[in-house]
């Protein structure tokens, strides 16, 4: 006789790994290596700041990409993609009208409740500005609900600056409202014209006019940056519970199955990529 199967499992979602199709509306080069993409989904993404999607091209592959825009009611999704490998290279060759696959949104993200009424400090390095923009946009949209917003954004050289005009617009908004401060830095000017400061993102921290007790920090950048920024912040008297970090790990599925993104016992794609630092500070692999 043939075996009868077990009862169907309610946990089965046949579409878990199937991307939804989105149409590219806009592709704009931001730097030599990064391009801005605006795509339109069949329905609103419904994401929180700091979440990511799994972006794919059928026949090429799939990769985790941060959502770069704040939560929005329309079907738009904005991303910035660095030509770093197989999929991202092919993506760079795409034009408006072509299709990409999207799964998600995935991950924890930032919770605006943690930031309301606070002096918000965003420290970003390089590509870190891309996900951070998804937090900065909603803050700017309702500035009166926050005490202030300080953005320290660093990159290696003026040629690598992302969202150049938009960041300057935030700066102007700061001059108008007095509530926003933007500090732009480069490691080196490389003889290019530069209207900001020169140095690492840690430099302005020690003299920043903030009230440690009233401050919440969001941090995103390359792996080397975290350790030094955290040291500075601790020196300023901030506790780990006031700091949110956005981490990167290798990810192949986005849904806590492929095992690549594990930081000690934590799954970066599930519990992260945004963590309140006190919850992972004890993990030896968190800031490696």
């Amino acid at each position: 006789m043939s075996a009868t199967p077990h009862a169907s499992d309610p946990a089965i979602d046949p579409a878990l790994y199937l991307p939804r199709m989105a149409r590219i509306l806009e592709v704009t080069p931001l730097t030599a290596r990064e391009k801005y993409f605006k795509v339109e989904l069949p329905e609103p993404l419904g994401h929180r700041p700091g979440q990511f999607v799994m972006l794919s091209l059928l026949g090429v592959g799939e990769a985790p990409i941060s959502i770069s825009c704040g939560p929005r009611a329309d079907n738009m999704l904005e991303m910035v993609i660095r030509d770093a490998g197989s999929l991202t290279h092919v993506l760079h060759g795409l034009k408006p009208g072509q299709q990409v696959g999207v799964r998600g949104p995935f991950g924890s993200g930032f919770n605006l409740d943690d930031f309301y009424g606070k002096q918000v400090l965003c420290v970003v390095g390089g590509l870190g500005l891309v996900p951070m923009r998804s937090l900065i946009q909603p803050i700017l949209a309702q500035l009166d609900r926050f005490a202030s917003l300080t953005i320290i954004s660093g990159c290696r050289s003026p040629a690598e600056e992302l969202y150049r005009d938009e960041v300057r617009a935030w700066e102007r908004l700061g001059q108008e409202t007095g509530k926003v401060r933007v500090i732009r830095l480069v490691d080196r000017t490389q003889n290019l014209p530069w209207d900001g400061q020169v140095g690492l993102v840690t430099a302005p921290l020690s003299s920043l006019p903030i009230d440690p007790a009233q401050t919440v920090v969001a941090l995103c950048g390359p792996p080397v940056m975290y350790k030094f920024v955290l040291l500075e912040l601790t020196a300023r008297g901030l506790s780990h519970a006031q700091i949110f970090v956005d981490l990167e790990r290798r990810m192949k599925c986005g849904v806590g199955k492929c095992g690549h993104c594990q930081i000690n016992h934590v799954y970066c794609c599930q519990e992260g990529p945004v963590f309140r630092f006190d919850q992972i500070a004890h993990l030896p692999e968190a800031l490696q």
Partner: protein, 264 residues
Amino acid sequence: MKPKVAFFDFASCEGCQLAVLNCEDILLDILGLVDIVEFREAMSETAPRFDVAFIEGSINREQDAERLRDIRARSTYLVAMGACACIGNVQARSNFIAPAENFQRVYGVEDRNMVQTDPEFWPLWAHTRVRAVKEIVPVDFELRGCPLVPEEFVHLVKALVTGATPRFSTQAVCVECKMNENECVYDQGETCMGQITRGGCKAICITNGYRCDGCRGILPHANLAAHHGLLQSKGLSEPQITNRYRLFCSAESLGRVGRTGHDK
């Protein structure tokens, strides 16, 4: 535009070109993706420039190195195809033997004396040293193995067509052995190069009852000290171990394992 593809062979058994011709069931589909403009083993045409040059064979003489440089200058991508082109293959064992000795062993004392006294012959044997393609010109991609793995060839062609980066295994042969559920060669009382050898071949030799001899070359992260110790602990003598390391991956193992210099 279909990429223009050309094949060139140097010192080799030409088995890799044959492995390409052996993809009978998909050969016509591949020809739908690329234009083959030069393939001496199979056709008479030649071409001045190409998008992709596939190089088979090791480079043993200066005249070959010259020809290779010329090919490099005429191609956008250059692919080293097979163990000879990637790592020198078995013939690189002769690098460990004095050139005159090599010559004498193959052609006899008389011929050796003849070529040694006639300057016209000198460049032909005195400088013979087996080199991998990357020792002479930059290589964009490598199709490793003796012979190459047809699936990898197809993968590379597809990647070249889509613009994606082709991905080749940088893991040990053990990985594919486990995927095939093979019994470990060591459990059969034999020794194996699989742990330090680049995978991608689907562990085909072990799957068919043999051991891995390392034809795909040594992994960048290979723990050679541990492997050497393991072979010792299995009773292999130092000459036996040297012989094993130099069976296929001689050029790549130069200076990395065993002794260097000329053996007697």
